[in-house]
Symmetry: C2
Subunit: 246 residues, 2 copies
Amino acid sequence: MDKSLVPNVSVDSVVFGFDSAHLNILLISRSIVHNEILYQDWKFPGDLILKNEDLDTASKRILKEQTGLEKIYMKQLKAFGALDRLLKRPQDMAWLVSIDHPEERVITIPYYALINLEKNGKKTGVLNQNARWFPVDEVKNIPLAFDHHEILEFALETLRNEVRTKPLAFELLPPKFSLSQLQKIYEVIFQVTLDKRNFRKKIANLSYIVPLNEKENDVSHRPANLYMFSRDVYHKLKSQNFDFTI
Amino acid sequence: MDKSLVPNVSVDSVVFGFDSAHLNILLISRSIVHNEILYQDWKFPGDLILKNEDLDTASKRILKEQTGLEKIYMKQLKAFGALDRLLKRPQDMAWLVSIDHPEERVITIPYYALINLEKNGKKTGVLNQNARWFPVDEVKNIPLAFDHHEILEFALETLRNEVRTKPLAFELLPPKFSLSQLQKIYEVIFQVTLDKRNFRKKIANLSYIVPLNEKENDVSHRPANLYMFSRDVYHKLKSQNFDFTI
DNA sequence: CCAAAAGTGTTAGGAGTACACCCATGA
DNA sequence: TCATGGGTGTACTCCTAACACTTTTGG
């Protein structure tokens, strides 16, 4: 194993991608042959960190190396350090050996990341052949490495908490978006349906969501007006103590 | 250094204690002589974890060893892993050598803990001579080890977020409490003053805060009625989806 | 002209906020 | 009898929730 690695600490990334209809998760394919059995499953992008590297730096570096994604919103979740988190299944242990990390005790520090998929897209943003987007509600039926199901649950809960009080929805949207797209984000994150008129009334009161003189193109229905999120206005309001809530 | 320790991972505890008037923080005194200078400052209870120990287990064990506190509410904050977090001041580096942990890279995983100080008390609950309670707003003027000021800020922010949606206030109170005590908790945590009548109206709607047929004793004013928090009722309501907010 | 999503107001009920005086106890 | 904190109601405002039809575009 590389001596410049911290042997007991890794980072992972739970990347949420929104494509105007669904919330998706980025997974990396993993194949291991162990005792003549082929195991195929999925994992989050992640790896051990370097000794001379901050946690935040490591998570960005590794995400870029493994998927090609960069310059997206990332935030730490918390540390996952259960004693047996690497030891529950034979394929997990075999995989550690196969990549020359035969440490038994690895504490992982997952991050969640947010990206819009319409432009950064299923193709353009993701370079690695082994990486694939899955709708978040399908992931519970997909075999994941280690404790990654548990990490995903925590990431979802955290996303739901944070999106209530922070302007995270805009990280999932393109720079110019329609109100229906914005509404859809809250609907897929909270698994609810919202009333269109009430939602728009609320948005109309938020000075940092500014209407543009621009409409959707090439849609086979009445084109929606486009809006943008003004970070400037938002931070000005926030500094005058202010409570963001949808 | 003990070979059964994970050399790069520690846990710390930010213990909040409420004494009916103030929110307090538990700190441990640290003295180091370095280059013939005596440094005296304070730190959170904390240490490196053992190789065969969960993070949650480690934080409980170390808190008990260093302060005597046990069986109190504890929850992980997040990992702090800045490259230079141990290297900013000479006393920090000298201290690591003095306790035989001369590792340069230690990622710490702080927990926050909640306790009531009226019964568990300034004396009874805390065994270690070096441990002392400080009012939380005095701590910013006290020299703390490493990045412990930053960790405290994060702990306070987290406490404020979580106390909004979870029944944490009751962890800071004795089993039987008055409504004024409960109100005071929200006032000290959020640094606001609340209207007594409006506060009590809200509480009256919460079925899991149940009035007892019991009053305060030995107070030189009209004795307050006592209440208790019913975990049963709370969890029943919560399972029928329900939104806790003060 | 059809399909599809955009856009738009009103009303009723509930929650939040502001506000001032009397009560019970110990000293 | 005084000092101290406990305990109580009302009116107004604002937010929330429920609800259905017309408009604009591409095909």
